[in-house]
Symmetry: C2
Subunit: 607 residues, 2 copies
């Protein structure tokens, strides 16, 4: 496995956007630097850089010199201490917990009306280059004087709708692509947004309100101060999760940290550590200390290890101790399969593929062996009080998710979803941040039902789905079957997509599988953002399309999700450096280029 | 480039299903042979083989010994001659044309009430293993006596809806997966099918009616007797097209024939030869004589070659002669950019990416240079009379399709679509089979508008889209951005998807790119078939899911779209042969398998 310490994107630089409420908030973004547009008269018109979301944390900053052994800087330590509601955990040096009985969660603060540094961080992060873009518009149109955060309506007019003709008249008729980039065009009529309510501009107050309502969460354990705040909710950018973790059959600790850095380089917004083999604790420690993204786990896996893999020997006490252990380490969110009730299990017996969730099958088996209700359900309130004391978010598992399209949306699945809703309400009352896990294998025509029932039954708590895979017949290509379902459910309001690699159902993913999987899901999430009319989504598409139209090859590569791959594919047919400046591509060849013909048409029409 | 002559699928055999109306109709299918299910009592229960659609023609028959030099057998020659309406083309030995003024098209025959051998071929082909599956059901439930082709309603009850409880009672409570496979289950309520009207069983008469109405076509030039009939229409399986063709920058004739065989091996339903370099005629001849699938072209490309690449020198006469040349060779469908009118061109000048269709930009430029209407539009009736005399289907091009998501559904695109509708009606009146080409680059929320306007304005003529690509930011992964859009528009009623490879926008696809592209689109089309409730779609998913649940690894590989890849991925983690019989996979390892735990639950619940 190669070293990833020198991972970087070509033509990009790391920038930090400062907070206003909290001056020590510095939000990292990647800025892609673009070449000039050559105007028909031979002059060069500079193009603004494009700011993109950056999950890579300090690892993505060329100036950062830390090592994995040292761990990342404690970005949030001062913010956490400043709230004055935490203390050292008794008997566990250097770990924190709530000092009293009130939750130390972002949900609790939001409900108290407090805007935390984490919330301002998220607001800036979600806007991406939007403020900068507005500034460019205001510079050009001095009569549009209102400030971004004070005049959402004016911004809406300027950027989401066709540009008012008076503004067009001011500028005259320039290269259309430059004009087109300033409008985010006619496509984003609000009624197309499937119930998402995104503002033209994200303010810290908007973030606070979303967190308070439960429509979004910021997974941020007080013992994971290295974590850069991010939001999961349907009124924000769609997020993706990548799984890592050594199974019994392979991989070492160093490999897992490398996988983490590799996954976040390509754009994983959160990472789940699903280790099941030896050294679970140590592996997780390495991952947490080196992760700028929230880390999720499934604690029942480690609990099962502790009882030697014997499901019958699991107990509430073993689980509780495991949860506390992970809480103190800094796990940001945990999957808990508490909604799988004993009475649902028999409804899976006639399924095509039974129970396919690991956690779900463990709890089902435990319940049947002991003829008792799932102890995660019966101890839900105790679980919530632990979570609230560390600000661990809970991801309520879907242990009965379908494992084949034939089993999608059946009684067992939907019965569990209803219980997920009940547990959501109880967790919220305890101050805990919540999301709900969803399927799985679902044919396209049944995806909407999943999303709408989840929104209704779980009161708009964020939905977090695995896939969904829209067919079973493509092992080896399940990153694609999953990206199809993911894009669709993302458009409908799913907040986070758990990636699936092409090795799904077949084997353990290697580096290339992780890269392909993350990028496939990143593009699916982005397609959903476009379709939801997320205010920042279309800038990058437009910049890339403009670069393509103008044969700015380097910009095309650099603006893409995977510049290395785009460039290497181009090199295969046209390897010479000057082909990167050619006004044609290998698809048609030099004599026959639609793009160039079309540019000729534009020149003619302007004569 | 490797030889493809020994391409075959493991665990499969070629079968032929005979016609009833026409005994010499023999429809090729691939039958995947499955291992036994081991029942809890230790006995083995045999599983029926699964029949899948097979595009590979004689090349996919292990018994076939022909070579590329010889060309394929003339499957349809006798059927064409038997209709008594063709003669040798004057001055063109061994090529046929209509003997009189009546069309020799499948549309014309259908409208006369004639069921051709081609139509029966299609009906059998679209049913796949359905008849065989019904037979198995009838054998098991003797009280369901009606015959498949005579009792669609009974079949609907048996296969699309939950199984009647009296039938369940007859059999007792066996392994649920076997039961589940017999129903196609609760998911396929008719209201979910987006206006598609598919019967439970495809009869030749149903095919005839679809062709007569224009809702479907069977591209089948009378000079391409090697072609195996297939239907394109939204009430049939969603089809995919793969493009091949030497551009000015590479590839030889032999390579193009190899690409054809490679593409159809993986499942391309039609192939477009988009050659633009030298030897266009000879390349096409080799492809046609060796192709069991319909071949499409864009004749304006060759016409442009004939005038030395000078758009200004194009003329109706050059185009007409080119069209006739291709008609005599046997091209099955042609893209004609006749709907791009002069007055639309200026509406592209302010686009982000102007005109990106090669044919579209050629015609736009010609119109502007000469200040005349597009000659393909002004000579439409003459074009149609040529097409009708050879049964070439027309694919009315969308020369103004958007080249970026920013340009989707704009005035220019929709204006051209309206004209496509007018031209459709005129072509139908001339007896010509028609489909309409569509975009391109379209964000997800605008896909439905494309499909519904096309259905309305083009009177349900089949839609044939490129992609659509749902974002512009993923060069190197555009087979995925396109598969997402393709699955969505397929579900909504798009009849055929033109594939996009991961090299799109970057370079020429190689073998691996073609394979990945075809499989990505095949799975997208299949996902759409599932969502439309196509009667044959779910059998294969269910068989694969059952094999997965029962750890029949070989069957899992063999039932997948790409068995080689599925197997090779499994081998990477668990290379030993006995791992193919293991009751676990590398995802969880031997101690921790959700599938196995779930099987335990099933056994317990049955005790």
């Amino acid at each position: 496995m190669n070293d990833t310490s020198n991972l970087s994107y070509p033509g990009s630089r790391r920038i930090y956007v400062p907070g206003r409420l909290y001056p020590d908030v510095r939000v990292p973004m990647r800025e892609i630097i673009l070449g000039d547009t050559l105007l028909p008269d031979g002059t060069a018109h500079p193009n603004d850089p494009v700011r993109v979301y950056d999950c890579s944390g300090p690892w993505g900053d060329a100036a950062y010199e830390g090592t994995a052994e040292e761990g990342l800087p404690s970005l949030r330590a001062a913010w956490i201490r400043a709230r004055g509601d935490v203390k050292e955990d008794v008997g566990h040096e250097r770990t924190l917990r709530a000092a009293g009985k009130t939750p130390v969660t972002q949900r609790y603060y939001a409900q108290q009306g407090v805007i935390t540094p984490e919330m301002e961080f998220v607001a800036i992060r979600e806007n991406l280059g939007r403020e900068q873009a507005f500034k460019a518009i205001y510079d050009r149109y001095p009569n549009a004087k209102s400030r971004p955060d004070e005049a959402a309506e004016a911004l809406e007019t300027l950027t989401m709708m066709p540009r008012p003709s008076e503004l067009e008249a001011q500028e005259g008729f320039g290269p259309s692509s430059m004009v087109a980039r300033d409008r985010l065009d006619h496509q984003h009529a609000p009624e197309r947004r499937n119930g998402c309510r995104m503002p033209a501009y994200f303010t810290p107050e908007f973030v606070r309100d979303e967190i308070a309502s439960g429509r979004a969460l910021i997974p941020a354990n007080i013992n994971h101060p290295e974590c850069e705040p991010m939001a999961i909710g349907r009124n924000f950018l769609v997020k993706i999760n990548a799984n890592i973790g050594n199974s019994a059959l392979g991989s070492s600790i160093e490999e897992e940290v490398e996988k983490l850095r590799w996954a976040i380089h390509w754009g994983a917004d959160t990472v789940m550590d699903l280790s099941t083999g030896k050294n679970i604790h140590a592996t997780r420690e390495w991952i947490l200390r080196n992760s700028p993204v929230p880390i999720g786990t499934v604690p029942i896996y480690q609990a099962l290890e502790k009882v030697g893999g014997k499901v019958a020997d699991l107990s509430w006490e073993v689980f509780r101790d495991t949860l506390l252990e992970q809480a103190r380490q800094g796990v940001d969110y945990v999957t808990v399969h508490a909604a799988l009730l004993l009475r649902f299990v028999n409804h899976t017996a006639r399924r095509m593929t039974g129970i396919v969730s690991r956690g779900g099958s463990i709890m089902a088996q435990w319940s049947m062996i002991h003829e008792q209700e799932n102890f995660l359900y019966s101890h839900w309130d105790e679980i919530c009080s632990i979570l609230a004391a560390y600000d661990i978010a809970v991801s309520i598992g879907d242990g009965l998710r379908p494992g084949s399209v034939a089993d999608a949306n059946d009684f067992a699945q939907l019965a569990e979803l209803e219980v997920q809703g009940d547990l959501t309400m109880r967790a919220w009352k305890a101050g805990v941040q919540v999301m709900n896990e969803g399927p799985g294998h679902v044919p396209m025509h049944l995806i909407r039902e999943n999303m709408s029932k989840q929104l209704e039954w779980c009161m708009e708590a964020p939905f977090y789905t695995l896939g969904p895979l829209v067919t079973d017949i493509a092992p080896g290509y399940d990153h694609i079957t999953g990206a199809i379902g993911g894009a669709i459910i993302g458009q409908l309001g799913c907040a986070m997509l758990c990636y699936v690699t092409r090795k799904e159902h077949l084997g353990l993913p290697d580096r290339e599988d992780v890269r392909e999987g993350v990028v496939a899901y990143k593009l699916a999430a982005h397609a959903a953002d476009l379709a939801k009319g997320h205010p920042s989504a279309q800038w990058r598409d437009n910049a890339l399309a403009q670069a393509r139209f103008e044969f700015r090859w380097e910009d095309q590569f650099n603006l893409s999700l995977d510049p290395q791959k785009a460039r290497s594919f181009h090199d295969l047919t046209l390897p010479h450096a000057n082909a990167k400046k050619a006004h044609f591509c290998s698809m048609c060849g030099p004599d026959f280029c639609a793009m160039r013909l079309s540019q000729d048409i534009r020149r003619r029409s302007q004569q």
